[in-house]
């Protein structure tokens, strides 16, 4: 095709503010950088054996554990994260800005560091470990430790999503509702939460995904035992040692879940 009709076919909207063309090249390279490894992983999948690889006892145990713990962690995130987001977005207590930065720290913290921190807080010899032990509660090497580690890393996602939604929504609907006679609890239940529901939903999906992918903190803090603490990512890591095909199959499963999450958050496939 000659350049002239191609130019004519271009959308008129792009005529006003065109990018320098060279931008396309690094952009394409960047896209490749992300897509190539994923494509390589998919190409590596042994499709014939996939059902067998995914249905092995170890795989099923890991998947079931991952789903169970991630769901529990997400529930915990909602229970704790919604009030946190409300406090951060709707109050002006002193020191709130510092608190916000600290609470969001797990977002950028290397997961292993998170695991170490949890260990020193809730581990048997940690800050609270002694008291917990005295109460007959031992978190170390239990499924509860996995949930705790997942909540630790996933909570900021929920708080950030919801706080952003709360700030975007603003307070004006809440103010109108209050003036109309709704008390604080009614405003929260009938106005605030319904208005930020999409933000809450994307926060829930993101924190579930983050919990599902949690690796470092779980490994450091919870250990690795089939059916108890060995979640899907830990299983992938271990299978890699002996059965790379099984590792790839499980990795594919995680990629699929991640893709579903991304689509769910963005509302529709980005096409």
């Amino acid at each position: 095709m000659s350049p002239v009709p191609r130019r004519a076919a271009r959308r008129p909207a792009s005529a006003g503010a065109e990018l320098p063309r060279w931008v396309l090249a690094p952009a394409a390279v960047g896209a490749l950088l992300v897509l190539l490894p994923l494509a390589a992983l998919v190409l590596q999948v042994d499709w014939a054996d996939l059902p067998a690889l995914l249905s092995s006892e170890a795989s099923r145990a890991a998947l079931a554990l991952s789903l169970r713990t991630s769901a529990a962690a997400t529930a915990l995130c909602v229970l704790l994260g919604v009030p946190m987001a409300l406090v951060l977005a709707r109050t002006s207590l002193p020191g709130l800005r510092v608190l916000r930065s600290l609470v969001l720290l797990p977002l950028v913290l290397p997961p292993v560091v998170g695991g170490l921190a949890l260990l020193h807080a809730f581990g048997r010899r940690g800050l609270l470990g002694g008291q917990l032990e005295a109460l007959g509660v031992s978190i170390a090497f239990t499924t509860a430790a996995v949930v705790l580690a997942q909540t630790f890393v996933a909570l900021p996602f929920l708080v950030v999503s919801l706080e952003g939604a709360l700030r975007t929504a603003g307070r004006r609907h809440e103010e109108v509702a209050a003036v109309l006679g709704a008390g604080p609890w009614t405003v929260l239940r009938r106005v605030t939460l319904p208005v930020v529901l999409p933000g809450l939903a994307s926060g829930v999906v993101l924190s579930f995904a983050r919990a599902l992918g949690e690796f470092g903190a779980t490994l450091t803090f919870a250990g690795s035992l089939q059916g108890t603490t060995r979640t899907l990512p830990l299983e992938v890591y271990l299978q890699r040692e002996t059965d790379p095909d099984a590792a790839v199959a499980l990795a594919l499963l995680l990629v699929v879940v991640a893709a579903v999450v991304v689509v769910a958050v963005r509302g529709r496939p980005a096409l």
Binding site: P26, V29, L33, R125, F141, G223, Q226, R230, T242
Partner: protein
């Protein structure tokens, strides 16, 4: 022209990263500085040694010895789990020498036609470690089977876990660990942090941990020995230097360094 050159540069960088990325050893670094002195024996260039993580100290020390003896030679080392190293070699990582923590992993590389005639150069046995204050009161390997004791071992999929399983069979002990870690480092970490009451690790790791752990000797462990093989890779860029390094590792000087670290001598020597 300038933008085109920039694009080419970026693309080239990325291609280089892509081409070598999955194969390049994760933490490859020169083990020592090179002194510009005339070579006495013609050994020069850069020698790359891939070694199991448990060999970190030993191979590091021997690399320094090698560079002192051959001033024009640079020795780069890369330490990781044996399986990781084998996988990297299979993917074409530019290594000259490979030393693994078990024969099974080395066999994978030999079967792939990438190395021939591996030489066993050391053995490692298992030891039980506990926190220094021994909260669980562990006196023997059999004690680990006691209920209520938090025991961490390696997963059967990795060499130290396979050895632990053999030791269980040998002693007729059935462990119910609270965690099966993917590496011996994770086991040691669980014990030193006091999370676990006891763990099963290599004797060399127990020795390296020093005062951070209390070591319980396991006499039966001699029956569950891991043998460490080393081989010059067929695609070695510096085959002469590679052979010299293997000779150093299997010779008297290597023997001494290995013994200091707690390794045993292989059956054949």
């Amino acid at each position: 022209m300038r933008t085109a050159a920039g694009v080419v540069a970026v693309a080239a960088l990325l291609l280089a990263a892509c081409g070598g990325g999955d194969a390049a050893p994760p933490d490859t670094a020169p083990a020592g500085a090179t002194a510009p002195a005339p070579a006495a024996d013609g050994l020069d260039g850069t020698l790359t040694v891939f070694a199991a993580a448990s060999l970190t100290e030993v191979v590091g020390e021997l690399a320094t010895v090698m560079e002192q003896e051959h001033p024009r030679l640079t020795v780069r080392t890369s330490f990781a789990g044996s399986s990781d190293l084998a996988a990297q070699v299979e993917q074409g990582a530019p290594a000259d020498v490979l030393a693994t923590a078990d024969e099974r992993t080395m066999q994978r590389v030999v079967d792939a036609g990438l190395a021939a005639d591996p030489v066993p150069f050391a053995t490692n046995t298992l030891a039980v470690v506990t926190p220094p204050d021994d909260p669980g009161g562990v006196a023997s390997f059999a004690d680990l089977a006691r209920s209520g004791l938090a025991v961490v071992v390696c997963a059967p999929q990795v060499p130290c876990g396979a050895a632990t399983e053999r030791l269980e069979q040998l002693t007729g002990t059935t462990l119910t660990p609270v965690s099966e870690a993917g590496s011996v480092t994770d086991v040691l970490g669980a014990v030193t942090s006091g999370q676990a009451d006891a763990g099963v690790v290599y004797a060399t790791d127990a020795r390296r941990a020093g005062d951070a752990v209390r070591t319980v000797a396991v006499p039966a462990a001699d029956g569950a020995v891991n043998t460490y093989p080393v081989a010059v890779l067929d695609d070695a860029a510096e085959p002469a230097a590679a052979r010299a390094f293997v000779d150093l590792l299997t010779g008297p000087e290597g023997r001494e360094v290995l013994a200091q670290a707690g390794f045993g001598a292989p059956d054949g020597s």
